[in-house]
């Protein structure tokens, strides 16, 4: 019985039945800055299992927050900004860092251009982050606008 339940969860996780166009109600990266991680329960005596959630992915989730998959590279970059939002903001403020680099990699920026990418983001911190209530969507869009207007990075944003 338990196996059936978990199996059903696995099937559901890989389906894109609720896929939406980007910007739609179930889709997007609307998480705000400093959202952190609410609801982490105490771990004491919680488990001896290093458990998977049961929604075991196999690298194959849609991964685009309920959006339809259309393979554009920008979704990779936007997804990373959203996934690492707090860390990304701290790295942009500091001028470098692993989360900032991960976003660069996700946008397809090659190694030799990453320092310039970091510098672009850092210089424009107040454009990207005008307040603490920005969403990842806002920031990614602004970042892409900045990239489009920079000859070096325009090619990574379609």
């Amino acid at each position: 019985m338990k196996n059936l339940l978990i199996g059903a969860a696995l099937l559901a996780a890989s389906s894109i039945a609720f896929a939406d166009a980007p910007g739609g109600p179930n889709c997007g990266w609307g998480n705000m800055l400093f959202e952190g991680q609410s609801g982490i329960g105490p771990h004491f005596l919680a488990t001896t299992t290093n458990g998977t959630s049961g929604n075991a992915t196999f690298g194959m989730t849609s991964g685009t927050n309920g959006c339809s998959v259309d393979g554009k590279l920008t979704y990779g970059g936007k997804k990373m900004v959203s996934a690492l939002f707090d860390e990304f903001s701290a790295d942009v403020a500091a001028g470098d860092g692993q989360a900032l680099n991960a976003v660069a990699v996700a946008y397809g920026v090659p190694k030799e251009d990453r320092a310039a990418f970091a510098s672009l983001a850092h210089r424009n911190f107040s454009v990207l982050f005008p307040s603490e209530n920005v969403t990842a969507d806002d920031v990614a869009s602004k970042l892409e606008t900045l990239m489009k207007s920079d000859a070096q990075f325009a090619k990574y944003v379609s």
């Binding site: 919680a46 299992t49 196999f58 209530n133």
Partner: protein, 639 residues
Amino acid sequence: MPGLVVSSAIHLASMPVLRSLVPILVAVWLLFPAPGRALDPVQAQADAKSLWQRAEWLKLLHYKPGLRPGHWHSQADDPAFFLAAGGADDPRAELDATLAALRVPADSGDAHAQCRFVARLTWLRSELDLGDLPQPDCAAYREFRSKVQARQAVLIFPSYYLNSPSSMFGHTLLRLDAGDDADGAEYLSFAVNFGAVVDARDNGLFYAFKGLTGGYPGQFEVDQYYKKIREYNRDENRDIWEYPLNLDADETERLIQHLWELRNIRFAYYFFDENCSYRILELLEVARPGLDLTSGFPLTAIPIDTVRAVQNAGLMRGKTFRPSQGTVLRQRLDALPDDLHEAVVTLAQHAEAIDSVAVQALPPATRARLIDAAYKYLRFRQTGPARDPAVAERSFRLLQALKAEAGALPTPAPQPDPASAPDASHGSRRLAVGGWHENDRDYLTLGLRLSLHSLEENRNGFPRGAQINLGNLDVRISDRGRPDIQRFDVIDILSLSPRDRFFKPLSWSVMTGVERQWTEGRERRVVHVNGGAGMTQALWGDARLYGLATGRLEYNTGFRDPVQPALGVRAGLLVGHGALTLNADLGAEQFANGDTRLRAALRQNLQLSRQQALHLELLWRDQQPREEFAIGLRYLHYY
């Protein structure tokens, strides 16, 4: 039958026109000596090579020797993994069924054996001439490979985390890197993790019990590494050690192909032996045929021991350290002078203090460090609670200030000494041989401990103040040669993390087992469960002072009512200096029936080498009316 053919052939051979046919007839007869099986040339090749007995096949199917020689049983606990009806116990039948299934017509798409069992296909192709195979459309596999590409595999060890039974021994997983540039690119790599699939409706001790006894199935999951970084570094505050492996392109390919075969396949999950680390070793054995990593773990697979096994097999290329959120904060704080620590807290609570004269008067590098530490401290405190707009506003203010001062931010702290990495610690298992003098008696003790580490043992590679003992048995042999149990600790865990203005962990202990206590005129073996909670204070260097309130439940035949609870206190000091580590521990307990006990122990550990130590213990016990004083010297050997 053959005799008839031969005699007929000889008879026919006497007829000239048929003489030329005889060799052809004989050849035809030899080519088809038996019907059915050998009509299939592929099957014949496989039989001739005894492929089903080969290590590569046995490892791919996760067969382990059964109880009787020549018998096998696969640890894959899932009928979907096998193509033959009794495939779980029959490598030969499974091979035959696989060969057949690979060649059925290609109209089942992803469900075709060629699409599901890619590693088997690749290996069989290399060993046999499979001829022209049908070409099914393996869309799911292609999609998987388009995402999961790897040129390098990395063994990941999230370090010890005492606040969770599943995590206190550490954990291992694999990371698959597409490129070899690090510094953030690995966030997008895929992490391969074997864990139990838990039922979210179970809770607490039920989880624990089922995890220990195989009550949950285990399976592999593949997910992006940044999620693991977040889970371990941030949510659980654990440091991560990463050990790049030297698997070549073919080996990595084999690993990924086999991983695909294991998608959604259930294994039994046993916390101690067939666990996360054990299965990772199996993946590596498939990747590099001839590697034997798992035979060193028949009973238990403590994660750090599996890391050492991989190291000893020559698979590692190096090690890197990924600090937890807490460790990063600690590094930032250590880089600030102590008199500014109060300012860190103030700044985190009142971001407007950035503009104060005191802060602005600081040299730029110090001011930048101060703001950085305050920001990190504020965010560290927010790991867990829901988003609070006021805190978000303060965080943002600090972030803006950080941006303004970023030019003066010094380079990050250097990496810790690799010689202090967890894999450099003493071995998990311990043999102890010792002699004791107790009041008027002398005896020997022989001890064996399954895992892992006590407070006073050789310090390198373990978190300070962490004690995790599992399966510790000490046997005493009196001077008349009679053996008896000195102690048996099933579980003995002590977590002493110091409190300061930034970190406020609880110190705690849990212990259960059998020990010897004097009651009603003689020494008895008693069964006990006890626990405690309290605080630890860091003193100079690594030294710690701790105090716990304790509770105990004991089964003691010397009591009128054998099961008795007790309340007590425990305090101690832990100091390390060079090769010497010292633990002084005091305890007092009062039982519900009025009995009291006092205890004072001084344990000194002198490190002789990484895997050896000399242990001197002085123990005083007052269990009224009798006072006991014991002194023991033991030689400890880890392996």
